[in-house]
Amino acid sequence: MSPDSTPTLRPNYDVLAIREDFPILAREVFGKPLVYLDTGASAQKPRQVIRAMTQVMEETYSNVHRGVHFLSQACTDQFEAARETVARFIGAREADEVVWTRGATEAINLVAAAWGRANVGPGDRIVISTLEHHSNIVPWQLLRDGTGAELAVIPVDDAGEVDLDAYAALLADGRAKLVSVTHVSNSIGTVLPIAEMARMAHEKGALFMVDGCQAAPHMAVDVQALDVDFYCFSGHKTYGPTGIGALWGRKELLDAMPPYQGGGEMIAHVTFEKSTFKAAPHKFEAGTPAIVEAVGLGAALDYIEAIGRDAILAHETEVAEYARERLAAVPGVSVIGHARERGAIVSFTMDQAHPHDIGTIVDRAGVAVRAGHHCAFPVMERFDVGATARASFGLYNMKSEVDRLVEALDEVAEIFGR
């Protein structure tokens, strides 16, 4: 790396000012300033999001798409403006390609159920990778069991990178109908070569879906540049509220898909003989949606954009790489996953202590890490660990917090031996 490309000098990234936006970061845990290293599980919320949600409830709240009255219009405008924010955030051609869901889990279930039921049959193949979160495994198993299709898994190498030759082999006979993979592994941080994988899938006639949970909050995402067919993420991991997320799909795919759930909001006309449905995205949004949460998510994405995703990525990469370096130097610690392209997630084990015990001990030092299988049993199996401890970083984390984690690990060694 040449001296002028080292990312340390970034006068514009004022992490202390950013931290001021997150009220929870000022609190203490067990008498120590909180060090929150569990953003991969869920991100903390800036005032801007809290305020936007409060504003709706205090000033403009009403049901959407229903009334002729003033508030209904005002609230619908905010709700639909948030959809446009999502569309811009991921580079969608239009807002009508964005479907509100409860999160990534519901988005994947929606595609597996609505697209899957209409398009998948016996002998067809769905392809996922070893790195998937359970929410990008189980919906496809349900589809497989309901249709007689086959579910195939792309293996990963010891570094944690997907094996592209094995992937090509799974596509070769043209039976693959859809590939669904994570953009960034939530358990070991691998960034998958999405654009290349999507191109390979399309060449063999398969559609390509991306679980963007661990990418959207951390790096610029452009669904058109990536040339994928479906992309989804969860609001609560992008500094927004729980209960909201988004599915993006190509317009022509969404238009051709049957509805997911039935109810109000999604219909054009109902008689007891037959109902007709609204066009996408409303066709997929049965029932009163998470209105306040959608507005909150819009505010969260605006917040991310105001800081700038390239700046966030550079900052987080610096902190995460520092963490890898420092953790690897702790006696007994092994970092799991060494992909060349990796996100702000560092998973590790310690010879002396089980991750669960590590989690408990560092917690008493005010440091929040996740300990467990990270909803990715197959990854744990692949790397022959029952569980890992995981530090995941957000736009508000600092190198000094990595130091606090490493200090807390000293207490683990104090108890369990060095």
Binding site: A353, H354, P355, H356, D357, T360, I361, R364, A371, G372, H373, F377, M380, G386, A387, E411, I415, F416
Partner: protein
């Protein structure tokens, strides 16, 4: 830090490192698998009856944290040679030790006075609600094995 020291007592660390009766019983009369879905820990508990209403042998295998492993190890030592009914009463007592804030060692029935010390080493988990399940998983699994159930979970 005191609470941590109380949780990770020497006895627990020792059983965690060198678990006793850590083996499979090939001709077990009962066996069950216990899962803690929270962290992915898993234990298998094997029970061999002695033909006279007692537990001839109790052993376990599995992968877990120090608390789960130590609890399982201590459990097998405590249970070997006991009657079934007595074993279940011991489980109840253990459960109280791990979860009951008002637990008073003076209330322990006479029959278990001798076992009390070995049960009390686990009392530290009371200050760590997220870890209580680690301590109780082996016992739930043992109960499932006795009852002829194949699996137990902490959920």
């Amino acid at each position: 830090m005191n609470e941590l020291r109380e949780l990770y007592q020497e006895v627990i660390l020792d059983h965690g490192r060198n678990p006793r009766n850590f083996r499979r019983i090939e001709d077990a009369d009962g066996e069950a698998r216990g899962d803690n879905p929270l962290c992915g820990d898993r234990v298998h508990v094997y029970v061999k009856l002695d033909g006279a209403g007692g537990l001839g042998d109790v052993a376990f295998q599995g992968r877990g944290c120090a608390i789960t492993t130590a609890s399982a190890s201590i459990m097998t030592e405590l249970l070997k040679g006991r009657g079934e009914a007595e074993a279940r009463r011991l489980f109840d007592l253990f459960h109280a030790v791990c979860t009951d804030e008002a637990f008073d060692p003076l209330d322990v029935p006479e029959e278990f006075e001798e076992e009390l010390d070995r049960l009390l080493v686990m009392a530290g988990v009371r200050q760590f609600p997220m870890r209580v399940k680690c301590a109780t998983l082996p016992w739930h699994t043992f109960a499932a094995a006795l009852d002829g159930k194949a699996t137990a979970t902490t959920e």
